[in-house]
Symmetry: C2
Subunit: 167 residues, 2 copies
Amino acid sequence: MTSRGLDDQQLAAYFTLTEVGNLLQQAVSDQLRADGDLSPVQFQVLATLGDAGATALRMTDLADRIVYSRSGFSYQAAQLEKRGLIAREPSPHDERSTVVRLTDAGRDLLARVMPGHVEVVRGLLFEHMPAADLAALGAVLGPVRDRLRAAPPRSARPRGTARRADR
Amino acid sequence: MTSRGLDDQQLAAYFTLTEVGNLLQQAVSDQLRADGDLSPVQFQVLATLGDAGATALRMTDLADRIVYSRSGFSYQAAQLEKRGLIAREPSPHDERSTVVRLTDAGRDLLARVMPGHVEVVRGLLFEHMPAADLAALGAVLGPVRDRLRAAPPRSARPRGTARRADR
DNA sequence: TATTGTTATACTCTATAACTATA
DNA sequence: TATAGTTATAGAGTATAACAATA
């Protein structure tokens, strides 16, 4: 009957995963709002740019990593630019592209928010987690993430005059 | 310096967890919209009520399990009631309370959406996951979820004239 | 006085489509 | 013709505060 469905153990693991994700994100969201007046998405933009170091990233690449639509990312970039946290510049390589980099103010805010962020995550997720469990978690979810990443990103969806190839 | 922070392994596991959660939710969100015109939150309401069987649940209890604020849940409940998927009735035990139950139409929609939902989750999360990994995932995240649940729910926040006890 | 639920309001966010400019 | 980015528009979702009713 339910031959192709999920068994009880799979269903339970799925629900647990989503619930942990939701509860964690909620706590993190409160912390980011309180410490830096940032939404989770805005923090993710700053953190991604911070990780990139001196490298400036393209709008589309950032959108694919972080948000869903290009327009949504344009909106967020405008918000962050208004606050002086990021800067947008035309790409030297491709006149169509815009590259984004962290400003000093953006780096400062990131540094101010990060300790509390890390503390919330540590307290809720890792405080009581044995080392073996931590290793297992990474080992299990890493391949899943890689598979999910392989799916075509949101920005690759056809738009405007462009049409799907498969018909 | 970064003595109380997260080590590299913890940070990587945290990022992986959130990325998997985001990507999974995005795929699930598309499926629910296509198959039943439901948002993830709305699906969660219907699924929770479906799990409860014949038991009707209180508004506040549903809000605590699923959404964030009571007003947010009132909004969602109104949406679902408009479509005839749930019904709200005064509680027989407490005149202040409202209990919510699934209508036949709600149950039908849930049944229509569930197979595709399960299929998406299976394909993205479990298809290539060894049995041992599945067991490990549940074993690691279960306790984390229980700890997160122990934190006071959103609806318990002071509001109106009510004030915090700790001051 | 506390709790339950709703509503008015204001705001943030998101996606679609239309647009410009460059490859 | 395809790609990169922006913007106008419109809609969904969210939270805060104020409200009415019951415990």
